[in-house]
């Protein structure tokens, strides 16, 4: 019974925030913080008590660490079916953590319509948790689309209008249209899959476990897989479909960027691991080389564009494209080690990107610009923030001792066995990563100062957030075992599905 509460807490909390605005401007913040802490705490408790050796695997009915099912729309055999395994557990905990942080980082930034802001923030997180828990395809799609609306409002109403006539409303609309249109393609694919199942068994169902058993003709499987892939690729983002991301990030408020980079991008990777690969293993194996090359391209392209940015948030946004390229390669490499690396990379990137966006937000609150040409020399002007930024820049470039290193290392070593050339080329991302990370530090914090007046130092709340993230990132870098253990069974299942198809396909070729 605890799973629906993971979704309901943010939704109810959000409504309370909206209502609480009548009684003062700080009350919504506290309500939001408490509900996020509750979500995070529940997540941790579930993590501590759950048995994560249970995960779906081929050949047997999916087993879950925890499950919840009630009927919903009987006409189509749709149920509210939630389930938890190691992968979703990690993602839910990450969501809870970043939820707490995004409330904290908006504490000063958001001063207007506070109740409505927190309503939107909470509903995004509720929708994301729903995506991570749903194992009914209709329910999954429902949450997938539903979280767009509050995100749209977050960017459109509380965002920053950038330079060059790029308004926040355009950025928000672009984000919405990209995801909504690609989502509809996925809906068509979902319905196609369901109706194929219906024609075979005579049962209309959207249940994950039942749909895993569908026998698909190769051509159909490939088309349906493409339908899912397009939706996930837009959210991921895979390079030709990425152009909404820098705009959305640049215009979004800090909390929006934190959620977008930290967890919304992960929903796409999660969707591939949970749905794309297990449902369509053969087509995915056939498609894998293309995807992995797209991943390599994303790594290099993201890194190069990141280097060329002058807007600090766009720089971090493009670096996300580059980092997620590694995850994409890992997912489609068919290697258990690389898949485990992808999970670590997702968590580590969630933490480091969130921290970098929080730091950008703090910088923006002090300088009122995100343009790095207007910065320079900040190292001398304020304590702590530049040093912490340096740490996270180092983490982003994959310095050993941080979680990012573990993730990228596992991905590269895992995929090298299967696709050596791609792994070799992907390694260039690490080099380019150092270039753009260091150039960011150099441009923003060193060099000649535009102004010598000292800037306000970090408040304990602000320092606490980033230091906490730094500690977590180092912990993940030094001792990633708990994360690896939690996701091991889930990744093993995915590997079995995909690996079999992958080897068959490779030998046939």
């Amino acid at each position: 019974m605890i799973l629906p509460w993971l979704i309901l807490i943010p939704f109810i909390g959000g409504l309370l925030c909206w209502y609480g605005e009548r009684f003062g401007t700080t009350l919504p913040r506290w309500i939001a913080l408490l509900s996020m802490l509750l979500l995070f705490g529940l997540g941790l408790w579930l993590w501590a008590t759950g048995d994560f050796t249970l995960a779906p695997a081929p050949g047997v009915a999916p087993q879950w660490a925890s499950e919840f099912q009630v009927p919903w729309i009987e006409r189509f055999g749709i149920t509210i079916h939630l389930a938890l395994d190691g992968l979703s557990m990690l993602m839910v905990v990450l969501t809870g953590l970043l939820g707490v942080l995004s409330v904290l980082c908006s504490w000063n930034e958001i001063q207007h319509r506070i109740g409505f802001f927190h309503l939107n923030l909470m509903w995004i997180l509720g929708g994301v948790v729903g995506v991570f828990l749903a194992v009914d395809l209709f329910l999954f799609f429902f949450f997938w689309e539903m979280m767009l609306v509050p995100m749209y409002f977050l960017i459109a109403l509380w965002g920053h209008s950038g330079s060059e006539g790029k308004t926040r409303i355009n950025a928000a609309t672009k984000f919405f249209i990209y995801t909504q249109a690609s989502g509809l393609v996925m809906l068509v694919a979902i319905l196609g899959l369901v109706l194929v199942n219906y024609s075979q068994t005579g049962v209309l169902t959207f249940n994950y476990a039942d749909l895993l058993k569908v026998e698909l003709a190769p051509r159909t499987e490939y088309l349906l897989m493409l339908g899912f892939f397009i939706a996930f690729a837009v959210k991921f983002p895979v390079v030709p479909l990425h152009s909404w991301l820098p705009d959305a990030h640049a215009q979004a408020p800090t909390a929006g960027s934190v959620d977008l980079a930290g967890i919304l991008l992960k929903t796409a990777a999660y969707g591939m691991l949970r749905f794309s690969l297990p449902l369509f293993p053969n087509a995915s194996a056939e498609f894998a080389p293309i995807v992995m090359w797209l991943g390599v391209f994303a790594i290099v392209y993201g890194a190069l564009l990141s280097f060329a940015q002058t807007d600090i948030k766009r720089l971090v946004a493009y670096s996300s494209v580059s980092h997620m390229g590694f995850v994409l390669i890992a997912i489609y490499s068919g290697s258990q080690i690389a898949l485990q690396g992808a999970v670590v990379q997702m968590v580590a990137h969630g933490l480091s990107a969130a921290a970098l966006f929080i730091l950008c937000g703090q910088l923006y609150e002090r300088l009122h610009t995100r343009d790095m040409r207007q910065m320079g020399g900040i190292w001398a002007r304020m304590p702590y923030l530049p040093a912490v930024s340096l740490f996270f820049a180092a983490a982003a470039l994959g310095l050993p001792g941080t979680g990012n290193f573990v993730g990228e290392f596992l991905i590269l070593i895992g995929s090298f066995q299967y696709v050596p050339w791609i792994a070799v080329l992907a390694t260039s991302g690490l080099v380019l990563g150092s270039v753009y990370s260091l150039i960011m530090i150099h441009r923003a914090y060193f060099g000649p100062a535009k102004d010598d007046s000292p800037l306000a130092g970090l408040r304990p709340r602000e320092l606490g957030m980033v230091l906490g993230l730094a500690v977590l990132l180092v912990l993940l870098g030094i001792y990633p075992q708990p994360v690896l253990d939690t996701s091991a069974a889930s990744m093993h299942g995915v590997q079995q599905w995909f690996g079999t198809a992958f080897t068959q396909f490779a030998s046939a070729r």
């Binding site: 009987e74 409002f153 109403l157 928000a172 109706l195």
Partner: protein, 491 residues
């Protein structure tokens, strides 16, 4: 044939609506009183709505050659009556009170009379099983609407819209009649079932029959404002008083669509070969052109007009699919679309209430509405999301159904058009939505009255919004209802 009580019971909704029209007319002749007329109309419509229950008991029953009362007809009758009730309630708010000297300057009462007559036409139309019944119903539906559109005749736009609608609608009717004549010449019967068997017997329909069906399609497409017969829509939507536009967008279109579906379901040959191709082209053109032209509108009523063109394009996908889920999908989609349109036009009506020369339909008048009228904004936000088909709203369920019907019959091109159309549509729906939340500019205030929520219109609107939300979260009751309202095939 012999008339029994059963027949009368089956016809009860139609009879009650007509009787209400007569009573209202006599009431106006006896004493002109706005509220009295309104109360009489609402009472009559509610009675008609209740009388569907006994009519359901008698269904399915063929009453005369022309009318077939079955569950399908009852479902759409209910939909039309509910939409009419909502429009009448909105009209009551719109035409306003006399006391403060403001408000509508002309006679108010006749609008109710016209609305009731049009509703009667709609009811006849959805139960028609014969070309003659179709034509009578359609004209009874359309002719009062001419008057309704031009009801604010001292406003140039309203008058212009009325005349435009009359001319084009009459042209549409002429096409329809010619088509019917050709079809009759070929099939030798006016009965839908008879036409179906006759056409099927010959294998491929003859050229004359195809031409006839094509011309009928043109006539109906005029009424449904499908591309390329859509040119009147934005002007008429803009010019018509807001409650009338609501009626035009809901009751009128639902009735015409229901009869189109019945015709195509009973004589499926009508939906094969060349005609299928034509229908597909119309659907794709409606979706794309409707959505694209809506992009550049700065007037909310015109925008809704173009969006309704696109929505009927989506609906055509289910008509073309025609098997399996299609009839159900259309029922669900029409129900959710009616709900959503009523909500959207309802907000415009309340914004323009009481009547003051022109309706509050320019987009800039909605800027910052959230900070003045939060509830009204919430209603319109839900409606925009529902029109865009976003989860948690009724519109999503409708769109889901249409996509399901399309996938089931493998209409990939049409689905591609739907996806592209939705992506375009999202842009303008979001534009309306976000405008309401922007910071309030220093514009003159053209607001709904403060007490709007206490009025019947406001309460109804809130109900519509809540219903749109509830059906989006838990659609099962609606789906059950529609599932039982399927078409029973005569043979």
């Amino acid at each position: 044939m012999e008339f029994t009580t059963q027949h009368l019971i089956a016809l009860l909704p139609l009879l009650v609506t007509c009787a209400t029209a007569v009573v209202v007319m006599l009431g106006i002749a006896w004493r002109r009183n706005h509220t009295l007329t309104y109360v009489l109309s609402v009472l009559g419509l509610n009675l008609a709505l209740l009388s569907i229950i006994p009519a359901l008991g008698a269904a399915p029953l063929a009453v005369t050659e022309m009318v077939q009362v079955d569950r399908y007809a009852c479902f759409y009758t209910a939909l039309i009556l509910i939409a009419t009730l909502a429009c009448v309630t909105l009209a009551h708010a719109y035409l306003g009170e006399h006391d403060d000297g403001k408000g509508y300057p002309g006679n108010r009462e006749e609008l109710y009379l016209l609305t009731l007559l049009a509703a009667a036409g709609g009811i006849l139309l959805v139960s028609a099983q014969n070309l003659a019944g179709l034509f009578i119903g359609l004209e009874l539906l359309s002719v009062p609407v001419y008057g309704m559109v031009a009801y604010a005749f001292f406003n140039k736009r309203s008058l212009e819209a009325g005349i435009k609608y009359m001319v084009l609608s009459a042209a549409g009717s002429a096409f329809l009649l010619f088509g019917m004549a050709l079809l009759y010449a070929d099939a030798g019967t006016l009965n839908f079932t008879g036409i179906g068997t006759q056409l099927a017997a010959n294998g491929l329909p003859s050229a004359m029959a195809q031409l006839g069906l094509g011309m009928m399609l043109v006539g109906l497409a005029f009424k449904l404002s499908l591309v390329p017969f859509h040119l009147w829509t934005p002007d008429v939507y803009e010019g018509a008083p807001a409650p009338v536009a609501a009626f035009l967008a809901t009751a009128s279109k639902v009735a015409v669509f229901a009869v189109l579906l019945r015709l195509f379901q009973i004589s499926p040959v009508a939906n094969e070969g060349l005609l299928n191709l034509v229908l597909s082209a119309i659907a794709i053109a409606s979706i794309l052109i409707g959505n694209l032209l809506a992009l550049i509108q700065s007037n909310l009523k015109r925008l809704l007009g173009y969006s309704s063109i696109a929505h009927f394009g989506y609906l055509l996908i289910a008509v073309i699919a025609s098997k399996g889920l299609a009839v159900e999908a259309i029922g669900v989609y029409l129900a959710t679309y009616t709900l959503t349109s009523l909500g959207a036009f309802g907000v415009i009506t309340l914004m323009s209430t009481p009547y003051s020369g022109r309706d509050a339909d320019a987009l800039y008048e909605y800027r910052g509405l959230f900070w003045r009228r939060p509830y009204l904004t919430a209603v319109l936000t839900v409606m925009m999301l529902s029109l865009a088909g976003i989860p948690l709203t009724a519109g999503f369920i409708g769109k889901f159904y249409v996509i399901a019907a399309g996938v089931e019959s493998g209409q990939w091109w049409l689905l591609a058009a739907l996806i592209v159309g939705s992506a375009i549509g999202v842009y303008y729906y979001l534009r309306v939505m976000v405008a309401m939340f922007l910071v309030e500019p220093n514009l003159h205030r053209h607001d709904a009255p403060m007490r709007w929520a206490q009025r019947a219109g406001g309460i109804m609107l809130l109900c519509v919004a809540v219903l749109a939300f509830v059906l989006g979260v838990y659609p099962q009751p609606l789906l059950d209802l529609v599932q039982h309202a399927g078409l029973a095939f005569a043979g």
